[in-house]
């Protein structure tokens, strides 16, 4: 008799746990057209000038954020989602900007330097609570395909946007914040001293390799 009672109790407990988990899952915001935004650069970022302008090719953009939901930007207020993966957004921003400075190769085989991007953060970071703190952080491995030499270049972009009360304004402010931080990170990468040094270092390696190849 007591066994039957225990079984009944366990069954009741498991059912209540199931009900709670289903309710929690239903509270999770879902992407809908009204809570999905597109993040793009308003205009390409002009890259810095190099002595011997190399042609770049972006081989990969890899997500290393460890975020299980990279497209979810905001969880509160019914949620807010990106229309594409952050990796696609970063790739587009870098390619457009390189293209504007005539530094993008037409294909991989014609590129002087290859770039592999590791994306560590894309979206909102923890702020003061009275504003939105947008942050884009990535690290790029620039490789000379001829010599196999590599150099690492880090880039960070930040932006602060005002908090808002209305849902519509929250969405607008967060979108602007993300676009600004993406622009800032792209700029930090393309105009950074680190990229200049990496290009100088890898170009030297390529020159040395071509000289050694020319020798009989």
């Amino acid at each position: 008799m007591s066994l039957t009672k225990d079984l009944a109790r366990i069954l009741a407990l498991s059912m209540s746990v199931c009900t709670l988990s289903v309710r929690a899952a239903s509270d999770e915001p879902k992407p809908k057209p009204e809570n999905t935004v597109g993040v793009h650069l308003s205009e390409p970022v002009p890259p810095q000038k190099f002595d011997h302008a190399p042609k770049f090719w972006i081989t990969d953009v890899i997500d290393r954020s460890g975020n299980p939901q990279p497209m979810q930007v905001l969880k509160s207020r019914g949620g807010m989602f990106l229309d594409r993966q952050p990796t696609a957004i970063v790739r587009e921003a870098l390619e457009e900007s390189l293209k504007s400075g005539s530094l993008l190769a037409s294909d991989r085989s014609s590129a002087d330097l290859e770039i592999r991007v590791y994306l560590f953060h894309f979206g909102l970071a923890e702020g003061s609570g009275v504003d939105f703190f947008g942050k884009v952080e990535f690290s790029a491995v620039v490789k000379n395909p001829k010599t196999g030499e590599t150099a690492e270049v880090k880039a960070t972009g930040t932006s602060i946007a005002k908090a808002a009360a209305r849902k519509k304004n929250v969405q607008k402010n967060v979108q602007e914040d993300l676009e600004d931080s993406l622009k800032d990170a792209t700029r930090n990468f393309l105009r950074g001293q680190q990229l200049r040094e990496a290009v100088g270092l890898l170009s030297k390696g390529a020159d040395a390799a071509s000289v050694s190849n020319a020798k009989p």
């Binding site: 923890e126 702020g127 003061s128 930040t158 932006s159 700029r187």
Partner: protein, 167 residues
């Protein structure tokens, strides 16, 4: 009489317009804010320094003291280096504060406090143009990033006070 009043108003408006135009002219071409560091014993998370960096850049942009606020490690044209500054700094003290002391004693006791020293250097010759000391106090139950916001605002304000007069 009426014409005199109108003339005075026009004169005031003209002066105000002139001073506004002077205020909007930036002093520096570019400003680069570096991530601040903390001295030994300061227990603040890396996220705090990230946020402080972002806030400082945001406040510098708002101050209109510089034409362009650039990111950390960005290259600057040699021609602009003379009119560009780099802002570095250190968090010299951070006290968490005490909610109990603040509630029982009051009068500023138990407040959360932050002391920051910032150096403004000319980019071309690394000459120190000014040193800014900031001391921020907030309620002990407030988020520490609120202090970062206030400190960044204070640095931008002090810079405006220091360099705004030298326009």
């Amino acid at each position: 009489m009426r014409s005199r009043i109108v003339l005075t108003i026009v004169l005031f408006l003209g002066l105000a317009g002139g001073s506004a135009a002077r205020d909007s002219a930036p002093v520096f071409k570019t400003a680069e804010a570096k991530h601040f560091s903390g001295v030994e014993g300061v227990e603040l998370t890396p996220a705090f320094y990230d946020y402080f960096y972002a806030e400082l850049r945001s406040e510098l942009t708002k101050s209109k003291l510089v034409s362009e606020v650039i990111g950390e490690g960005e290259a600057v044209e040699d021609a602009d280096a003379d009119k560009s500054v780099v802002i570095t700094g250190t968090v010299t003290e951070y006290k968490k504060g005490s909610v109990v002391k603040s509630a029982l004693i009051g009068f500023g006791t138990g407040m959360r406090s932050l002391k920051v020293d910032a150096d403004v250097m000319r980019r071309s010759d690394k000459q120190n143009l000014c040193t800014i000391h900031v001391h921020v106090k907030v309620e002990p139950n407030w988020n520490e990033k609120i202090m970062a916001r206030f400190a960044a605002q204070q640095i931008a304000k002090d810079m405006k006070k220091e360099f705004g007069t030298k326009r």
